[in-house]
Amino acid sequence: MTRGVHDVGGLPDDQVDLSEHNYAPWEKRIDALLVLLAGKKQIMRVDELRRGIESLDIDAYNELSYYERWIASISKILVEKKLITSTELEDRMAKIATRKTLL
């Protein structure tokens, strides 16, 4: 049976780490992006977000934080839908990386 990286029900795992963090502004921003794109804008479905996350390789799935997985998936889906191109995304990211602050 094919079992995706996300399909973890019943697998042995560690004790639950009860620590919590307050969501950072960049995490809220990614959350809002998805809420807008999947809600009001009807540009992508939450199902597509999930599929994008599930298609991460197992190391990326386990190493990336929650919203890192989200933005990796959102950008992949937007490229698929030809709303952005991977070249313009890479170019813009390179420009942003040289700025003193992110926004």
Partner: protein
């Protein structure tokens, strides 16, 4: 050898910057293409920040003091939320009731489905694999890790939110709260009690 940190691996600043840059880039590109505006993003963040466990606590406390409301809540959670002025935006909410013989526990093994319109964004542990993997197979061990110990006379019912429903636990009303006002009862309703990992806070004697 990366530096060990007592709370887990250190954040790789470079990697963090990579995904933060990606988020900013996506937002800028979508804005320039007229697909969305910064104002809409800000408004959406504000809307989400307004959601939180206080909303669910109002529903629970109301159900504790009003048996007719409780009946409606268990029949149609979404309608009962809207009745209190809590917009659910199309979420189909199923409310499950704890009592002396039944304890309900909510998990999403495949991702992190959560009644975010009622409880806000989920806690970190709800989204991580330790909880998602184990809650469905060893719920009593998970409950014990949250300090919730149940005798065998209580049945544990796990709900795996795999599709279009979202779940909220109606915790058992603590003893010694007879005659309490709704406002006072609300204080006893924690987020975790509505996920089912803990019971409601006990009344201080």
């Amino acid at each position: 050898m990366p530096h060990d940190h007592p709370h887990g691996p250190t954040i790789d600043a470079k990697r963090l910057a990579h995904y933060q840059c990606m988020a900013v880039a996506v937002q800028e590109l979508l804005t320039e293409k007229g697909i969305l505006t910064d104002k809409q993003i800000e408004a959406t963040i504000k809307e989400m920040e307004a959601r939180g466990p206080a909303l669910g606590a109002r529903m629970v406390a109301r159900a504790w003091i009003d048996s007719n409301y409780k009946r409606r809540l268990l029949l149609d959670g979404s309608a009962a939320a809207e009745e209190l002025g809590i917009p659910v935006d199309g979420t189909r909410l199923i409310v499950v009731e704890n009592n002396e013989t039944m304890h309900n526990l909510i998990v999403c093994t495949l991702c992190s489905c959560y009644p975010r319109n009622i409880l806000g964004l989920p806690p970190d542990w709800y989204k991580k694999t330790a909880y998602r993997s184990r809650a469905v197979k060893e719920p009593r061990a998970i409950l014990a890790e949250f300090g919730t110990f149940l005798p065998d006379s209580v049945t544990v019912r796990v709900h795996d939110s795999t599709a279009d429903m979202r779940y909220l636990v109606l915790p058992t009303r603590p003893s010694g709260t007879e005659g309490w006002t709704e406002q006072r009862l609300i204080e006893l309703v924690s987020r975790d009690s509505m996920i089912g990992v803990r019971t409601a806070k006990q009344a201080e004697s």
